[in-house]
């Protein structure tokens, strides 16, 4: 009996070597890759819905600088920026130089940071925030176009529609409010340089914060 079973095994025993040939070789477990827009190139166009239900497109702000801020009010990194008032200061600095500030929320329903239009307006009011518009992007469309990975992830587009800054709000990736004073204020510096017509010293920096809660798509 044993002998017969062994002979039965003999055939497949010779085969693993053949089947060990990798059937398919590309690397495993990859995130679905996103386009990363290039600095000094035209900023990708987009249209979205704001918290009052109106359509807002990048094109309508031609001639003005535009700041994009990815946000999620539950994220401890975002809270650092709003609880300290530093993000609101940036928004007012931008408004003062004639720039349009767009806060973008890419959290889908059920995920941290998701709000509806009235929820978004209530947040702006309670935080004394001053964005020109809050865009609701629950499908993550705008987020994927810009390769926004974290909250807060910041982008600055100049008056000619060129992407001039992409990265973190400042240089110290922490959730401690005291670090804001110690960090290199990348966004503030970039806005100041833009207003003065000077080149931006650090156009690409490391964005830091919580993962943008994209709806998982295959």
């Amino acid at each position: 009996m044993t002998i017969r079973r062994r002979s039965l095994l003999a055939v497949p025993a010779a085969l693993p070597a053949l089947l060990a040939i990798p059937l398919l070789r590309p690397g495993a477990a990859q995130a679905t890759s996103m386009a990363v827009p290039a600095i000094a190139a035209p900023a990708p166009a987009f249209t979205g819905t704001n918290s009052n239900g109106a359509q807002v497109s990048l094109a309508q702000f031609a001639g003005k600088p535009v700041v994009l801020e990815w946000t999620n009010d539950g994220c401890p990194y975002v809270r650092k920026w709003y609880n300290s008032g530093a993000m609101q200061d940036l928004q007012r600095q931008a408004a003062a130089m004639g720039a349009v500030w767009l806060s973008i929320i890419s959290s889908p329903p059920g995920e941290q940071g998701h709000v509806d239009g009235s929820g978004a307006n209530a947040l702006s009011q309670s935080r004394n925030a001053a964005p020109a518009h809050v865009l609701l992007d629950p499908e993550g469309r705008i987020g994927r176009i810009y390769g926004a990975t974290v909250t807060p992830h910041m982008f600055i587009i100049d008056a000619k529609g060129t992407l001039v800054y992409a990265g973190g709000a400042d240089s110290i990736p922490s959730t401690r409010q005291d670090d804001i004073a110690r960090a290199t204020p990348y966004v503030r510096d970039a806005l100041t340089a833009l207003a003065a017509g000077a080149p931006i010293a650090n156009p690409v920096t490391r964005p830091y914060g919580c993962v943008v809660k994209y709806r998982n798509q295959v």
């Binding site: 095994l9 040939i21 590309p26 690397g27 995130a31 401890p76 490391r206």
Partner: protein, 693 residues
Amino acid sequence: MTARLLLLLLLIGLAARDARALESAIVSSPRAQASLVTEADAFIPGQPLRVGLRLRMAPGWYTYWQNPGDAGAAPELDFSLPAGATAGPIAWPTPARHATGPVMSYGYDGEVLLPVTITTTRELADRLVVQVHASWLVCEKICVPEDGDFTLTLPAGTPTPYAEAKLFAAADAATPRPAPWPAAVSPEGVLSLRIPGLDAAQVREAWFAPLAWGQVVHSAPQVMDAAADGISLALQPGPEFRHAAGLAGVVIITDHAGQTSALSLTASPGPTITPAAILPLWQLIAFAVAAGLILNLMPCVFPVLAMKAMALAQLSGTARRTALGHAGAYAAGVVATFLALAGTLVALRAAGSVVGWGFQFQSPVFVAAMAWLLFAVGLNMSGLYGIRAGAVSGIGGNAAQRGGLSGSFLTGLLAVLVATPCTAPFMGAAIAGAMAAPLLVTLLGFLAMGIGFALPYVALATIPAFARLMPRPGAWMEVLRQVLAFPMYAAAVWMLWVVSLQSGPTGVLYTAGGMVLIGFALWALGVAQSGLAQTGTGRRLAVAASVAASAAAIALLSTLATTPPATAAAPGAAPATGDASQSFTPARLSELRAEGRPVFVNLTAAWCVTCIVNEQVVLAQPAVQQAFAARGVTYLKGDWTRRDPAITDYLRALGRDGVPLYVLYPPRGGTPVVLPQILTEQRVLDELTRAGL
């Protein structure tokens, strides 16, 4: 009772540790438990010692590597040490990749130790107080920053070994080793690592994680090319990539045995290299066709071989056009089933379900349905009823021709369904890789595999030279057909046995009861088909009885779906072979490993013929069992018949997608050895000897 005893022992252990100040007080949240541990219970002034932040995360939560990837933050340790003591950097263990939608992170889940070496000088007094403020970020769907202050006091003296030292040993084992060979990076971002004498076929997967943010696009696919003298990875340069500055990071290589090695390297600027493409499609398809061809030789396919032999016999003497039609229908059945299975698997994976190849055999409903199908095919071969006039396909129409064609299609379907558990051991690695490939490539691969599987039959049916070898049709065909019914019955009994393991006696009752109903339904069908039912009314009555019995059987299936699983106390797939095995759990394995004992792990499933054959022919043999006993090897057997997540995780950790899996853990924490999926007594005994047993 046992749990209480364990808790007591644990408390005693904790108290003892506190007394010796080897693990600090634990800072605890629902997400993570953090503590400071030391490698030894004392230090020698002037010599270095190691401490580490130990993080134990709740399931689903993870923390980050030194380069957290696209989001998150690395843990930070801020030491306050007395004069004469200096803390070095964290020796980061190899991270795992964590993809959240389009965002790639690097980090750790479960438990991780972040070791730091503290150097001391001789003037340091009789004790060392280590104080550290640690902050770490833990994320699941949301991220929560946590921090804590930890203090440990170590006396000067001769260190003695103790339990926490093994945490450091484990961290060392999980830390990348410096690559002993040179690496280079091209201006396009192609990273090449020379590995002299590399067997390219052994490399299953490799990926690179840069030490700093912005060097590469973390989420971009990394196409690997393995050659005889090394591997290359086509990376997508990130915004901070400077060719002249080189590239520092960690390469993680997984071989076909599922073993992973991590190498830290700094690649120097190298010449231009055209990024390697994915394996050329024609090669990929050639491999897949070859793999499909070989599947015809797998033992699980034997019951279906009976059907194929039958079909071949039927073809002998028929017109070439008919033969071609049958061959085409069979091939279509095979290919469609391969694609359907692959599609289902991809969809389940995308939905976040943890499933492996052969997953369908983990559902008792599917297994019962297979038992009935095999039984029904057997009854057909025994001549109880005929498959004609669309009786099976449910399509009306004229014709033996058409009924025969759908029969061929169904034969193909059945062959694949029954063959899948067998394909798992041989294809595990390839399929796991295929699943990670782009969807279209995956489906193309499975399509080619299906074509390969159907090829021999199609060749027999279509090439005249082969057809001439077939004997002329005659009465022998009827005898052959009836004889071949018995392998089908045997396969149905096997399925019934699998159900017994999955759903216990109740499951067997429903499945066997269903077989009676199916038998009745097909007998009634046979009556309707034959001359026994002479009137139209009689025929209609017979058909109605057949339909009613079939409906009752289907109702039974839904009952089976809600039947509770067989109690965990049942030893699962363990056939009554009298082997001295213990039940496998990852906890039991690490416990035995911690004791330094040798362990043989066997992961099996009742629906895996190869597993069972290996057990009967090799593992249950007295020579092997005696060798285990004599050499103090603990034999752990894990049953994957029902999808056990702990075993699925363990399989995945070893890069496997299915069973069988045999791993020998040598004593005293030696490197585990993965044994081949087809075992021989000699191989097992040799491996025991090689492990120093």
